[in-house]
Structures are given as structure tokens and as C-alpha cells.
Symmetry: C2
Subunit: 259 residues, 2 copies
């Protein structure tokens, strides 16, 4: 097997470019066929599925790193994303007993290096993102053999502490629905009230009263009527709504309370 030089360089030289002891893990959510999905990549070091992640360049702040990583992995640069929690169990970093040494050497063409910046104690900062799945182009990085979307009810067993990270991401997403304008990046420019209600039902995992979320979003000025209607039958032409961009930008910064 030919040696994977870029992977080896990452282990031995990465500390020159990246900040030590910190990684970023991203729970990237999307929609497909009325189901919430999450993007996973198959890690060649532990040969298991995991959340996409990466490291922070020395000159970057955490948000810039998270944005770069989610964009690299989805091919999209207009995602809604938020930091949700930092994970720092003393033994959470890459553990020797997680490694399949033989498998790694077979894929990488070199043995797992010991005592590098990559194998020291580290904490991970969790970001979640909400994206339009249909426009995404999932990309592997040098640590992955595959990268693809999984329906939220068909998630395989995850490596590292990523089951906990995903669970916390979902918990935060469900709270943030009531405080940040999460829907916009998932809906088309114009949508009916039924469409936005369905979206919030899927995101919240709850059956909602028909006018619950939509009316509250209208009350805030976040979504507003357009002149257009969707023509779906002789006597049925629901009005299209759209996000008010100015209110959206403000709510993104300041948040709101949807009660």
C-alpha cells in the first residue's frame, strides 16, 4: 500500500498550522422526504461512523473554523449554525484502544504515530448546522472513506463520544426553534403555512396545532404574506409566505421568545 503522505504530514506537522488540544465536531442536519437527516462520515482511523469534524487554524476563531468545516463537508456556505456545547471528558480524545492498527496501516500505508498533537488530551467544541440537504454535495476529508446523509432514526453506532454530542445537538436544536429563525435555510423562498408547519413538526418532533408556530412567526414579523398563491386545485389556493429579511437578520443576532 502506498503511503498516504498528506495524512502522515497531518499527524506529524499539523501542530504548526492548527491550535493544540481543540477540535470542532459538527452535527449537520438536513431534510429529505419529510425526515430529519444527519451527515456522517466514516473515520478510517477508528473505522466507524462519526460526526464530521476538524481542527482550528491558529489564526481562526471557533466560529470561523466551524463555518469552514461545514462548508468544506457540505459544499454549501449559507447554513444556519450555532455552537451548542463543549465536550471535555479527560479521556475523550483518540484512545489507543479505539484504533484498529492493522486497518489503519492498510489504508494509510504507515503505522499510527504515537504521542503527536493528534493523540493528546483534547476537547471538542460542538456546532450544529441546519442545511438544505438537496443542495448539498457531501465531501470526505483525509480522515474519511465515506460521507453521507442518514435518516435520524437509522443512525449507526457512532465512534468517539459522538452519540452524546449528537444527542446534545438535537436537544439544543429543539430548544432553539423557539428562539432563533431556524426554518429559513430549509424552505424554498416562498412557502405555504402548511409547509412551514410541517417543517416545525419534524424539527420539534411534536404534533403542532395547525396555526401554532406559523402564527407566532407572523406575529413577530419574521414571515409575511406575499401576493402570490399556490394553485393546487379548483377551490384551493393557499397564500405564499416569505421570510422578512431584515427581521430575520435581527432575530439571528438577538433571538426571540416564541410564547
Amino acid at each position: 500500500m502506498e503511503k498516504n503522505k498528506s495524512l502522515e504530514a497531518f499527524f506529524t506537522e499539523g501542530y504548526k498550522r492548527f491550535r493544540d488540544g481543540i477540535s470542532i465536531d459538527c452535527a449537520i442536519f438536513g431534510f429529505h422526504k419529510e425526515k430529519l437527516h444527519v451527515l456522517l462520515s466514516k473515520n478510517i482511523i477508528i473505522t466507524r461512523w462519526a460526526l464530521p469534524g476538524g481542527f482550528v487554524l491558529k489564526e481562526e476563531n471557533l466560529e470561523q473554523a466551524a463555518k469552514r468545516i461545514t462548508t468544506e463537508r457540505t459544499g454549501m456556505d449559507e447554513l444556519f449554525f450555532r455552537q451548542f456545547k463543549t465536550f471535555g471528558e479527560p479521556n475523550r480524545n483518540i484512545q489507543k484502544d479505539l484504533f484498529d492498527y492493522n486497518k489503519f496501516a492498510e489504508i494509510a500505508g504507515f503505522d499510527v504515530p504515537q504521542n503527536t498533537w493528534m493523540t493528546q488530551q483534547s476537547i471538542s467544541i460542538g456546532y450544529y448546522a441546519v442545511s438544505n440537504l438537496s443542495e448539498s454535495q457531501p465531501q470526505i476529508d483525509i480522515f474519511n472513506s465515506e460521507c453521507k446523509w442518514f435518516p435520524i432514526d437509522e443512525i449507526p453506532s457512532l465512534g468517539f463520544d459522538h452519540e452524546e454530542i449528537l444527542s446534545e445537538a438535537l436537544h439544543t436544536l429543539k430548544i432553539h426553534l423557539y428562539h432563533y429563525p431556524i426554518g429559513q435555510t430549509l424552505l424554498p423562498d416562498k412557502f405555504t403555512l402548511k409547509e412551514i408547519k410541517n417543517l416545525y413538526e419534524i424539527l420539534s418532533g411534536k404534533h403542532l396545532h395547525a396555526s401554532n408556530f406559523p402564527n407566532k412567526l407572523i406575529g413577530l414579523g419574521l414571515i409575511e404574506k406575499t401576493e402570490e398563491k399556490r394553485n393546487i386545485g379548483a377551490h384551493r389556493a393557499p397564500t405564499f409566505y416569505k421570510f422578512n429579511q431584515e427581521v430575520y437578520e435581527q432575530m439571528l443576532k438577538e433571538g426571540f421568545v416564541l410564547v
Copy 2:
């Protein structure tokens, strides 16, 4: 000036006990005379007020460290607390231009050491806590000359990036009111609906409809009627309520949606 040996040892030997590149900063909130207060300590290195903070022992996880730090600084061990955000601007750590070298040398009896684990790039994990101010006994640590409560509308200019950290803590607290049982550690065991409403008004910074929060908390089963009434006049005897401990513990873990 006699050399402060424990402070010097912290700079030069601390890396043996503490995790590198991570600190914890705590926004500890309390109540006094119907006003929200925050605990600040005066840092002798930068000679400015700042949020109390500390470092993570090698064997601790982040929550254990935050709990130890808040307990050490308040003298109380039953606080409601939550992680809210991690701060990691590349230049956010102790900067040379922040130091008042002369003042430091005067207080500490030695010059500020250069290039130690303390003066490298670091990130800070923010926790907020909600405490019963009247039971607290604020304590300084080796980095502080004073530690005391400030009303939220009389906060002095803060050192490091702590104005941003405090602002984010307040923002998160106001969101969490709708999702976690934050009131319990601030109220007496038994309280009237008016008392809990006042508390939520102060915490949220909003004028609330008389039955808004309290009725929703009753609906969740989180607070419940007792047999007792407060006798405040001939025809006025409001019923005492208390938290249901079982529901409280569950809500603390799982959260709720107060809508």
C-alpha cells in the same frame, strides 16, 4: 514586598496539575433587593474586575471543574448551573499589553513570568450559575484582591473578553427560563405565585401577565399547591406553592418547552 510563592508556583508549576490551554469563566447570578446581581472579582494581574474563573484539573471533566470553581467562590454547593458557550478568539488569552507589570510586581513580589502555560493561547468555557445571594460567602483566590456582588445595572468595565462572556451568559439565561427549572435555587421552600412571578420578571427583564409563568409551571407539574397560606391581612391569604422535587430533577435533565 515578600514574594507570593503560591502565585509564582501557579505560573511555573501549574501545568503539572491543570489541563493546558483551557480555562473556565463563571457568570454567577444572584438576587438582592429585587435586583439581579453578578459576582465579580478584582484580578491583580490586570488590576481590573472580571468574572470569577479557574482552570481544569487534569483528572476533571469540564462540569466538575465549573462546579468546584463556583463552590469555591460562593461557599455554596447547590447551585443551578449550565455551560453556555466557549470563547476562542485567537488572541483572547492573557496579552502582554493587558499587564500592569509594576502593579503586579508590587503585589506579587516577583515579575510576571513569560512564556508559561498561563500566558499561551487559550480558550475559555463559559458556565453560568444561579445562586441564592444571601447565603453566599464570596471568596477571593490567589489571583484576586476582592470578590463581591454587583447589581447588573452597575457593572464596572470588565477585563479580558468578560463583557462579551457576561452578555452571552445573560442572553442564555433568558432563553433557559423557558426550558429549565431555574427558579428553585432562588426561592424559599414555600412561596406564593406572586413571589415566583416577580422572580421570573426580574430574570426575564419583562413585565409578565400575572398568571403567565406560574400557570405554565403548574401545568407542567413543576410547582404545586401546599396546604399552607401566607397570612398577610384580614382577607388576604395567598396559598403557598412548592417545587415538586421529582419533576424538578427530571426537568433539570430533560428540559421542557414553556409555551
